[in-house]
Amino acid sequence: MAEFSFQLKKVSKRFIKGKDTITIFDNLDLDIPAQDYVAIMGPSGSGKTTLLNVLGGIDRITSGEIQFDGKRVDKLDEGQLSRWRAANIGFIFQFYNLMPVLTAAQNVELPLLLTKLSSRERRRNVETALQLVGLADRAKHYPREMSGGQQQRVAIARAIVSDPKVLLCDEPTGDLDRATADEVLDILALLNKQHGKTVIVVTHDPEAARHAKRTLHLNKGVFVERTALA
């Protein structure tokens, strides 16, 4: 395994709005070692969600280089990016984004449809993922039958079912109460410590930052790092 999950070199993201050019970040450098657990915090509009999107390949950079596992990924075309993303990245969103017409198990199975696994193998992986998040007994329930915390855990199961190296989380606890949020954060920590996944969390929640190994503060596209206490 490479030393760094991600390396951003002089990455800029700008876009044109009418007559103005808006710069999200300019010449940003960032190294994220493998198996890191980093929280990215900052005020609204600081660009942290854009950073996450760019890392996950769902948004393009204007200039610079992004390396994943030592290989450049910013120049991949859409099709290649899709495949790369399916294999390496797991996304977790603030509003869970589960498909309401599918059961929990079916939602978790979605990423596996893109693989060549047999139906039996898919089912096994889904069971494992659901067990890991503690929802094996809810496999056949629909999202509308579950609480917010449960839905988020299903989303996590979906994110890890194809065993990606990296988890990108956008405000994963933003919609949850304290107790449920902590449950979710514990799972993320578990995935990082026991399963060696690199976890990058964008958040407003200071608790989430405390679960991480280090915290980066992003303000107007510039980093300030503060290491976790103890």
Binding site: I58, F91, P100, L113, L114
Partner: protein, 385 residues
């Protein structure tokens, strides 16, 4: 679960809406199948006439008779194989309302001139040898419950007998069937019996129907025959049986155009309704599509799913509509035959055309939403609340 299940689940997203779409599609295809079947019945005469069967009628109009002497002269023309006289008798059975499509023909030649007529063994011979015998088409026989061996009276409101009566007695000697729906309702008597017993119209025939040895000779034979009788008191007009039948349908006043217009308008309306709904449905799923793309589902895969969805919807609705039309018409066949409406079937070509249309409909209604799904930018999709 697999891609197919995903597509089906998406259709089941809003059950009421999907049901309404299915109803609309069902109606459109029901109309299509029913109207096409109706057209098929009407045009049956044209398609079922053998290419080498010709008809000679009086040039003025087929309701004006020809002299019976013309029969031998036509038989003498080179290339004419079998010929028979065919005169409209048009009687009724018991009640004047029970109109019969009845002709007087030469029984010995009937099967020769109309080869796709089948009768059980022995019946054709019995008919040929019985002066007062009748050959009845299967449809009419079933309508009145007639059986071979029965003795029935037929009356005419056109012809009368020497003794002043209008009723003829017949034996039913044969019941025939034929793929030609137009002929399966006919009742056939012997022309000799007809000629011997009527008070007027003796020595005449309504038309002369004959076969040629080769289709290539048709044109020259037509010219020869019409030339033979040109400038005589009874001029002829000779044409293929198919062309002769066509004049009836053409006189119904361009039914094909009307039916095509009705079906097209129905489909246009359905297209708009279903297309819009698909568009709406995909738009509602913008965020979900964005999420699927983050999971690694590529643009093309997403569009395929949308197209599969619209195709599935279209095909289910179409098959229901086509099937219902086929079933209903099949069940109503007896009732329709009672009204002398025959050959109204949802044929295999109609079904195939229907399925083809369904595929087209599915593709067209899914095209724009599929394109939208393909081009959807993940960031924009996720951003929409």
């Amino acid at each position: 679960m697999n891609h197919a299940v995903l597509v089906a689940k998406n259709l089941g997203r809003r059950k009421l809406r999907t049901a309404l779409m299915l109803i609309a599609i069902f109606i459109a295809f029901l109309l299509f199948a029913a109207l096409e079947a109706f057209l098929h019945g009407i045009n049956a005469g044209e398609s079922n006439s053998a290419a080498n069967r010709l008809v000679s009628v009086n040039k003025i109009n087929f309701t004006v008779p020809l002299p019976i002497s013309y029969l031998e002269r036509i038989k003498g023309v080179k290339g004419v194989v079998h010929a028979l006289p065919q005169s409209w008798f048009g009687g009724y059975f018991q009640d004047p309302k029970n109109v019969l499509f009845m002709f007087a023909v030469d029984p010995a030649e009937y099967v020769n001139v109309y080869p796709n007529t089948s009768m059980p063994p022995g019946q054709n011979e019995a008919w040929i040898n019985d002066r007062i015998g009748l050959a009845v088409g299967r449809v009419t026989a079933e309508k009145y419950g007639w059986k071979v061996g029965q003795h029935i009276p037929v009356s005419s409101n056109i012809f009368s007998r020497a003794d002043g009566s209008h009723t003829w007695e017949f034996n039913i000697d044969a019941i025939f069937s034929t793929p030609d729906a137009n002929r399966e309702g006919l009742v056939l008597m012997s022309h000799k019996y007809f000629d011997d017993t009527v008070t007027f119209a003796k020595d005449t025939t309504s038309m002369i129907v004959f076969t040629t040895s080769s289709v290539a000779l048709n044109d020259s034979i037509e010219k020869t025959i019409d030339g033979m009788f040109a400038n005589s008191p009874y001029e002829t007009s000779t044409d293929t049986a198919a062309a002769f039948n066509k004049q009836f349908t053409s006189q119904l006043g361009n039914l094909t155009l009307i039916i095509t217009l009705v079906v097209s308008t129905a489909f246009a309306a359905i297209l708009l309704i279903v297309g819009n709904t698909m568009m709406m449905s995909v738009r509602e799923r913008t965020r979900e599509i964005g999420v699927l793309k983050t999971l690694g589902f590529s643009g093309p895969v997403i569009s395929m799913q949308v197209l599969a969805e619209s195709l599935l919807l279209s095909l289910i609705g179409a098959l229901l509509g086509l099937g219902f039309a086929a079933g209903a018409l099949s069940a109503a066949r007896k009732a329709l035959e009672g009204f002398n409406i025959i050959g109204v079937n949802v044929t295999v070509p109609i079904l195939a055309a229907g399925v083809g249309l369904a595929v087209l409909l599915g593709l067209v209604t899914g095209a724009v939403p599929a394109w939208a799904g393909l081009r959807l930018k993940i960031v924009a999709a996720l951003g929409r609340h």
